[in-house]
């Protein structure tokens, strides 16, 4: 009986402590979103109080100053393009690797996995040179192609792992029924690996939404800049007008929040599998 009481007490005490720590962890995000609805004077007065009125002027002004809709569209185009290209390319390669036999298969797998050792920072200098040479600067396709290259290491690894669990008998049965290799890949196996496709797409989307370095190198045209680059410039030009800055920041974060709430399961599992296999 006594032990039960002790256990119960621990359940609540430890739980409360770790829950409060979690709230503290989320505090920065709360503060940003909350203060985005206040005028600069109100922020200066008290950053902790709830906004007295729903002050939307910040958002209007931030949208105007940041050229928000244009850069939102740019980011969305880049992100969606990256997801499509990277998913298709990684699935194809992983499917090929898992169906080739012997040394070939292992060799190619290793080739793609080792690519994760090359970080973008070690090649960014030459990518900028190359981008100028191949007229990839100020184009979305150039950025999407490079993103695709960097993403495929992760995608190939994740898909290959999952494809191992797809029973071969299924594919063989389909072959007997007259499906050719391409049909088996797209009509039989692709629907089966849907969870992986979800995981990989969500992560690709988040990564390219958050990406800053590559677009800042490759895209100079103000009409083509994505949100992250615009946000950074906005910060450098209007240093102290925090009410506009955090309103712009909040707008940029909203899609991330939405995706996190909807697809949290895929995000954590995907990142974990990526880390564990490398």
């Amino acid at each position: 009986m006594k032990a039960m009481g002790k256990r119960k007490r621990r359940y609540w005490i430890q739980g409360t402590l770790v829950f409060l720590a979690g709230i503290l962890f989320m505090m920065p995000v709360f503060l940003i979103v909350m203060n985005a609805f206040k005028s600069n004077r109100e922020i200066m007065l008290s950053f902790l109080s709830f906004p007295k009125t729903l002050y939307l002027h910040n958002f209007q002004e931030a949208m105007r100053l940041m050229n928000f809709w244009v850069s939102f569209r740019n980011t969305a185009v880049i992100a969606v393009g990256t997801v499509f290209l990277s998913v298709i390319v990684s699935y194809m390669a992983a499917y090929g690797i898992s169906h080739l036999r012997g040394k070939f298969s292992d060799g190619f797998y290793l080739f793609f996995v080792l690519g994760q050792l090359v970080s973008i920072h070690t090649v960014m200098v030459y990518i900028s040179v190359m981008a100028t040479k191949f007229h990839m600067n100020n184009t979305f396709w150039g950025l999407i192609l490079i993103h695709g290259g960097f993403n495929s290491a992760f995608g190939v690894m994740t898909y290959t792992g999952f494809l191992k669990s797809v029973p071969r008998e299924l594919e063989e049965a389909a072959a007997i029924d007259g499906c050719n290799a391409f049909q088996i890949m797209t009509r039989i196996v692709l629907p089966l690996v849907k969870p992986t496709t979800m995981t990989v797409s969500v992560l690709y989307f988040l990564w390219s939404w958050n990406e800053f370095l590559l677009p800042s190198i490759m895209i100079g045209d103000s009409g083509l800049r994505p949100l992250t680059v615009n946000l950074n410039m906005f910060k450098n030009t209007s240093g102290t007008e925090w009410n506009y800055l955090i309103a712009g920041l909040t707008l940029t974060l909203i899609p991330i929040f939405i995706i996190y709430i909807l697809a949290q399961k895929y995000i954590t599992s995907g990142m974990m599998s990526g880390a564990v296999k490398s």
Partner: protein
């Protein structure tokens, strides 16, 4: 039948690799082996339009380059501090989340959330906190000397801001991995230990940590590699300032390449960074593999 089917389609399977292979060459292999590595042997400046072969001169210059050595040292310092803090915090959180507590899933989500926010946005959030929120908290607490700290004015303070931001976004990810590791430890072992009097702190040190060694290996690998790639947060928070003391290697390379346009020199630094990351990864994997408990 099956073997014949796969054999017949070998060409098709090989062809499937072509797009990924091409993108890979475009983004990684080409720029690294045909761009960065050869260019590191040239004195190459885009603005001055010169490109002369100088052999190992760039690398010889690196050893005496104060800016580069500062950034190398700063990256190491940042790496050691963030990796340590990240892992300690992540382990502590996961330890409590692994115990019997309420609202587990929700609490876990709160800790993981910052990990999905990109570096630029994270830096931005913390800039706001350090310039607008913290001074007010300190002055409300009567700590006027703390309230008047200029967080971005001195190197050591700027270091703290970067560490805070990096730990905030980094630890949630490691927490999830630790949590998975803890849940994999069989309850029988822990129960047997408890019967033998191994409880509380002792249980953590003698049972859970040694059994977590594989997870610790992964986490160290992930976080050290991440520390050497840190760019977004220092770039957007301090811009390497004041006076270049918070430049990471990546930031130092970026500045060489895109503000002074010394491409050859920046490539030489990139090669050094590439080897550092590879070496650390190899050493670290070997070191922790040995300590893993075999069950």
């Amino acid at each position: 039948m099956s073997s014949a089917f796969y054999k017949k389609n070998t060409r098709f399977y090989l062809a499937l690799l072509i797009p990924a292979f091409c993108l890979y060459c475009l983004a990684l292999i080409g720029p690294l082996f045909f761009g960065t590595v050869p260019s590191s042997f040239y004195d190459w400046n885009i603005i001055k339009a010169k490109r002369n072969f100088t052999g190992f001169e760039n690398f010889a210059e690196l050893i005496h380059d104060k800016q580069f050595l500062t950034s190398l040292f700063f990256t190491l310092k940042l790496g050691v501090v963030t990796v340590t803090l990240n892992n300690i915090i992540a382990f502590a959180i996961s330890y409590f989340l692994n115990e019997n507590v309420f609202a587990k899933g929700f609490t876990r989500s709160m800790f993981f959330m910052p990990n999905t926010i990109g570096g630029i946005m994270v830096a931005f959030i913390w800039c706001f906190l350090f310039t607008n929120v913290l001074p007010k908290i300190f002055s409300a607490a009567g700590l006027e000397s703390m309230a008047s700290i200029s967080w971005f004015g001195s190197g050591s303070m700027a270091f703290i801001t970067i560490v805070a931001a990096a730990v905030w976004t980094g630890s949630g990810f490691l927490m999830v991995l630790y949590l998975a590791g803890l849940q994999n430890i069989s309850a029988d072992i822990l129960e047997a230990g408890e019967i033998d009097g191994c409880t509380g702190f002792k249980k953590v040190i003698l049972l859970q940590l040694p059994l977590l060694m594989p997870t610790i290996t992964i986490n160290l690998f992930v976080s050290i590699a991440g520390a050497f790639k840190s760019f977004d947060i220092p770039y957007a928070m301090t811009g390497g300032g004041p006076a270049g003391v918070t430049n990471t290697i990546a930031l130092n390379i970026y500045k060489d390449a895109f503000s002074t346009y010394n491409m050859g020199y920046a490539c030489a630094k990139s090669v050094v960074l590439f080897f550092i990351v590879m070496a650390i990864t190899c050493i670290q994997l070997r070191f922790t593999r040995k300590k893993e408990v075999q069950l």
